[in-house]
Subunit: 164 residues, 2 copies
DNA sequence: TGGAGTTATTTTGATTGGCGAAGCAACAAG
DNA sequence: CTTGTTGCTTCGCCAATCAAAATAACTCCA
């Protein structure tokens, strides 16, 4: 059986792996460019996106334990990237916010992955963009949606409220 | 500016992140199912794919240093998953091969990500599959191809020899 | 032959990310 | 006020990673 079924599946998996690999490598690039580790950078981004979060929120979003988040925040705080303040409404909680320095770091750290991708994506024809989005969302759905706990995490996706 | 340009880019990035996240989580699942860490599993897979490799080859393929690979192979070897033998032709090199146990482990470790994905992918209409592949490859190209060192890594992709 | 330089691997000594369990403080419900 | 729950931190541990140094083997040139 020549170019049918299985081969196509392979092709799609290969493309997927390429995507995964590219993003992984760029993550490292990014990290060192910003003077933060990939994970630290990600935390900083999440905090910035939210404006204000809690360790708990981050741990759920990132799928790691709270202890891990604490450690990461320790480092970010030591570097002056985020601030930690006890919440007034519920004093068990800590409010995490980005500092000015953190914001600058984010602003000055060009995310090579996104920048390159964004540039190219925006150069595409309208219908191509639409097509790509449809495909990516479809793949994403095949990977996570059903059959899974529907994820504690979607966050970004939820903000945008995808259909399905 | 309503639903144009930027929003689309966002949508595509969100889908991308969803894909990334799903694979990351499944990696962990997989790992524990197989009794190996995600990275160890990946190494084992790579070795199996190649049939015979060297630490150097693996380090390039994975984008990590050789020291790291050595450590990983130590563990896999201790668990009887791979064998290390000095190469006859160049005795600086070590030949890494999967053992029977390693092969079994791979066979019995259901890759939930791939399985789920594969099942769904194969259920798609022909034209849908083609469309998805085209889109994924396009995205992959936008992420890695040009502008980058053309990557030391493609490996799987090279086996299949994609065009472009 | 015999260096000099290069390449493949391992070793060593860090750091980071991650987990689980234990501990502590604050809230919630009786 | 007790009991249970929740949010966070601490602690001890392990895996993954790196950079740099040490070894060993190869290559090449004179």
């Amino acid at each position: 059986m020549g170019l049918t079924g299985m081969d196509r599946t392979d092709d799609s998996l290969i493309a997927l792996r390429r995507i995964l690999r590219a993003t992984e490598l760029f993550g490292k690039e990014l990290a060192s460019a910003a003077g933060l580790s990939p994970v630290q950078f990600r935390v900083l981004q999440l905090v910035a996106e939210k404006g204000l979060t809690t360790p708990k929120g981050l741990s759920v979003q990132m799928g790691v334990t709270q202890g891990t988040v604490t450690a990461l925040l320790d480092k970010l705080q030591r570097q002056g990237m985020v601030s930690r303040e006890r919440s007034e409404v519920d004093r068990r909680q800590m409010n995490i916010a980005v500092t000015e320095k953190g914001r600058e770091t984010l602003a000055n750290a060009p995310d090579p992955l996104q920048q390159r991708y964004v540039r190219k994506f925006e150069a595409l024809e309208d219908w191509e963009q639409a097509q790509l989005i449809a495909s990516l969302e479809r793949v994403a759905a095949m990977l996570d949606a059903d059959e899974m706990d529907a994820s504690p995490v979607l966050d970004v996706g939820e903000l945008k409220g995808r259909p399905a």
